[in-house]
């Protein structure tokens, strides 16, 4: 539907250089479709823009952080539009209702949902635009449109000789009726989906020309660094601002909600001045726990409170009563940082009663809320320009770094870029929660009759809802934001989806055991947390698949045969399990001095089985080989799937071998890559990935490679040493 021009207040230049108009209702921005005479451009829908010059722009509503949306989603729309994906120019979406992730009712990229939720709508959008172009060409020629075909950016005449390029048709196509019943291309006619055609962003990312948030440059821009409290929740009491303001290059020193910001003409001058800044903190509301206190709290909570029952099949208590024995084990996992290689940063400019923000963000509509909170603006006055992201992994779902830039920009009225140091990025992260798992199984003879999993720890949405709930209702007055946050939590399942971040991967325990009970003891130590590549699955996967290994050992079964016997009714689980066993020749065993471990785990709709071969050399765990069988439904780009799985395995191994954030009196002890280590090239194992052929709808791929790594490697170490790994990171000297 075409809107009246007077309905539009905001006009901003899209990155394509053409104008993108947004509806005036704050937060209800809507993308105008139709033909724009001035630019010679036609927007058939919110995603596509075709120009008379033959250019095709695609608005990418799921950000590119390495996971491949830039290529994958462009491929979907290109397939149906009948153009080469490489001829399309993707642009990053502004905030608009059309670009919301339908699963979250928010414009965010996460949960390995981008491809799954775009699979139908983007192909449909491409098909509808193609059909309108065909109708236009048929009208020009006076032929039956059913006899015309579209191919490589042209409509072909039924005579086989004549053709009209899309550019010549866009104006005419715009006045054709939109048809929503256009059939999608059958699978055997796909030209781009399922083929290896490289990444569309590879050249820009290999020549240094891809623009990340940290690369944004504005006229007259200044720089700011922020000193934040060492203990989360502390407040500024006093600081030596007057001393700092006299330092070279310093323009101002200002207190913001999150700490003290030093604004300077150059980044380095701000950093140098920061070394002289002395802040006294009010620690009344600060976190003062140490890591041991966190786990003591969890154990205490687990003793006191059996937790909310999240799944109950049969009766575990009866099974336990009637069983010969009950096996128990508990598992602990530490806080983990995200360590995106591009540190947190954002650039903001407040002028003319509006704010413009440039940032690498996974959730631009939450970024608007964060900027509105710290200024006199409403979300509709805030424009978020998203860039390439130098890694995301869930970190950039939280908008604290946009909030800081906006707070400073609001005060100084100049364009300002806030850059976090690596040390700040590590210490002031919101972490993958530390968790405790208590597992019990009832066993009679060689049969497991019951499974009991008690998950102990916080849930992420409690921390996230502060900006997420208002983002769902951006027209609501700001004084209601905090209320909305609380209501959002209370009305779980209505305003916000039920938060399963603590129990995902536990409640969907797949094995064929009659009595299964899963409980969540909800306890939050107050340490800031957020999503982290595979979140709940990462800790529940370790607990569940290590305990499965313990039970195999307990019943004297081979870990592969044990799982196989209990998964016969789950064909996709069974298929990847059998596949990985064949790939690694499981029965053949490991070479001398090495051992193998196995894990099978479903997350984000994707089935993954892994076998890891490891040894211990000079007191260090060495990972030699990882075999991985994956079923993620229909594959859009096989190489990107392979990369995401391999990248996920490296991500998991990094955490399994090195990952641990510890607290002493509330202060994070790690700071940079010497004490929060990432896997390096020389540590890299050989990774062999097999992707199942499937015509099922595509499922997630960015995260599912991660969870099985922890148990597969831990189980390998058990096979090697006979000592069970029940805490992460894994320890060569466990005993």
């Amino acid at each position: 539907m075409r809107m009246n021009r007077r309905d539009f207040l905001k006009v901003s230049a899209g990155s394509s250089g053409s104008l993108v108009l947004a509806l005036s209702l704050p937060g209800c921005a809507s993308i105008e479709t139709g033909y724009e005479e001035e630019d010679g451009s036609w927007r058939p829908d919110a995603w596509l823009e075709l120009t008379t010059g033959g250019a095709v722009y695609f608005t990418l509503a799921r950000v590119e952080m390495g996971q491949g949306t830039y290529t994958g989603l462009t491929t979907l729309i290109a397939e149906e539009l009948e153009v080469d994906p490489a001829s399309i120019t993707p642009t990053f979406a502004p905030v608009a209702a059309e670009y919301r992730n339908p699963l979250y009712k928010l414009q965010l990229t996460g949960g390995s949902t981008s491809l799954a939720t775009s699979w139908e709508p983007l192909r449909q959008a491409g098909a509808e635009a193609r059909e309108m172009l065909i109708l236009a060409a048929a009208r020009v020629w006076g032929v039956n449109h059913r006899e015309c075909t579209a191919f490589e950016g042209q409509v072909r005449h039924p005579n086989g000789a004549d053709a009209l390029p899309y550019g010549k048709l866009v104006k005419l196509a715009a006045s054709e009726e939109v048809r929503h019943d256009v059939a999608l291309k059958p699978r055997d006619q796909w030209r781009y989906i399922g083929k290896n055609r490289g990444r569309l962003d590879a050249t820009a990312k290999s020549t240094g020309t891809a623009e990340y948030g940290i690369d944004v440059e504005l006229p007259g821009m200044v720089y700011a660094v922020v000193t934040r409290p060492p203990r989360y929740g502390a407040r500024v009491k006093s600081f030596n601002g007057a001393d700092i303001e006299t330092m070279p290059g310093v323009l101002s020193v200002i207190e913001i909600e999150r700490g003290v910001a030093i604004v300077a003409s150059k980044y380095w001058l701000a950093r140098k001045a920061q070394q002289q800044l002395i802040v006294e903190w009010n620690n009344d509301d600060a976190v003062t726990l140490s890591t041991a206190d966190v786990f003591a709290l969890y154990h205490h909570a687990a003793d006191e409170d059996a937790g909310e029952r999240e799944r109950s099949d049969g009766s575990f208590s009866e099974a336990a009563e009637n069983a010969e024995r009950v096996v128990e084990a508990s598992y602990e996992q530490p806080y983990l940082a995200h360590a995106t290689l591009e540190p947190m940063n954002a650039t903001a400019w407040y002028r003319d009663n509006a704010m413009e923000v440039w940032a690498p963000t996974q959730a631009p509509d939450l970024g608007r809320i964060a900027a509105a909170r710290v200024s006199d603006l409403s979300p509709g006055d805030v424009t978020i320009n998203t860039t390439f992201l130098g890694g995301g992994f869930g970190r950039r779902l939280t908008q604290d770094y946009i909030e800081e830039a906006a707070a400073v920009a609001y005060r100084i009225r100049k364009p300002v870029k806030v850059i976090w140091s690596r040390e700040e990025d590590t210490r002031h992260d919101l972490f993958r929660p530390a968790m405790l798992h208590r597992m019990k199984a009832s066993v009679s003879g060689k049969t497991v009759t019951g499974w009991h999993h008690q998950v102990v720890g916080p849930q992420v949405l409690d921390w996230y809802v502060r900006n997420a709930a208002p983002a769902q209702y951006p027209w609501s007055p700001k004084f209601l934001y905090n209320t909305l946050g609380k209501v959002g939590l209370l009305a779980e399942g209505i305003a916000t989806p039920k938060d399963i971040s603590a129990i995902e991967g536990a409640i969907d325990y797949p094995y064929d055991i009659a009595n299964v009970e899963v409980r969540h003891t909800h306890t939050d130590p107050g340490v800031p947390i957020t999503w982290w590549r595979s979140v709940g699955y990462s800790h529940n996967g370790f607990a569940a698949e290590t305990f499965m290994d313990e039970l195999a050992h307990e019943t004297g079964a081979d870990p592969y045969e044990f799982r196989r016997g209990l998964i016969r009714n789950q064909p996709r689980h069974l298929a990847v399990l059998d596949k990985v066993a064949a790939m690694a020749d499981w029965q053949g065993g490991a070479p001398s001095g090495r051992a193998r471990g196995l894990a099978l785990f479903q997350s984000f709709g994707t089935f993954v089985a892994q076998i890891i071969e490891a040894s211990i050399e000079h007191g260090n765990i060495v990972v030699h080989k990882v075999w991985c069988a994956v079923d993620c439904g229909q594959v859009v780009n096989p190489e990107i799937v392979r990369d995401q799985i391999e990248g996920g395995i490296i991500f998991g191994l990094t955490a399994a071998l090195h990952g641990e954030i510890t607290l002493v009196d509330g202060e994070v002890q790690q700071s940079n890559f010497h004490d929060y280590m990432l896997m390096r090239n020389y540590e890299r194992p050989e990774v062999l990935v097999n992707i199942a052929e499937s015509s099922e709808a595509p499922t997630g791929i960015g995260e599912p490679g991660v969870p099985p790594v922890f148990p597969a490697l831990g189980n390998a170490l058990f096979a090697l040493t006979g000592k069970r790994q029940r805490a992460l990171p894994l320890n060569a000297e466990v005993g």
Binding site: R199, D201, T203, T207, Y267, L341, S421, D643, V687
Partner: protein, 162 residues
Amino acid sequence: MALSLTVNGERRTLEVDLDTPLLWVIRDELGLKGTKFGCGAGLCGACTVHLDGQPVRSCSTPVEVAQDKSVTTIEGLGTETKLHPLQKAWVEHGVPQCGYCQSGQIMSAAHLLEHNPSPAREDIVAALSGNLCRCGTYSRIIAAVESVVDGSTSAANRQEGA
């Protein structure tokens, strides 16, 4: 203080504090954004450039050290229309995921190949183990470098001065 250095073949004179890390001069004074800030401590390699032909961590190299010297950044190695063979290999092998570390990876690899045109796998791994990749693209990085070494990247003819 005035300081002169050559960047990608061009002589530049700047007014800058001499203790400023070379990285921020390259990025913010010269506007070459391809060189990245990752850790500020020489641990991740995202900021790798060549200083008189040697790879250095520009985040922890004071610009004073570069006085009257020659700096090569990723922009000086090749461009989108005239790719260096390594960049070509990076594209053909689809190496980058988030891409943030790749300028540094390529600069480290370029230095290796200048000094050792036929490195063994261990040499490549050793030369690139100072460059972190959070996305885990290591195996593709190795494959891309090896394709340049064995000439299997299309048009792998090495450029002069690269």
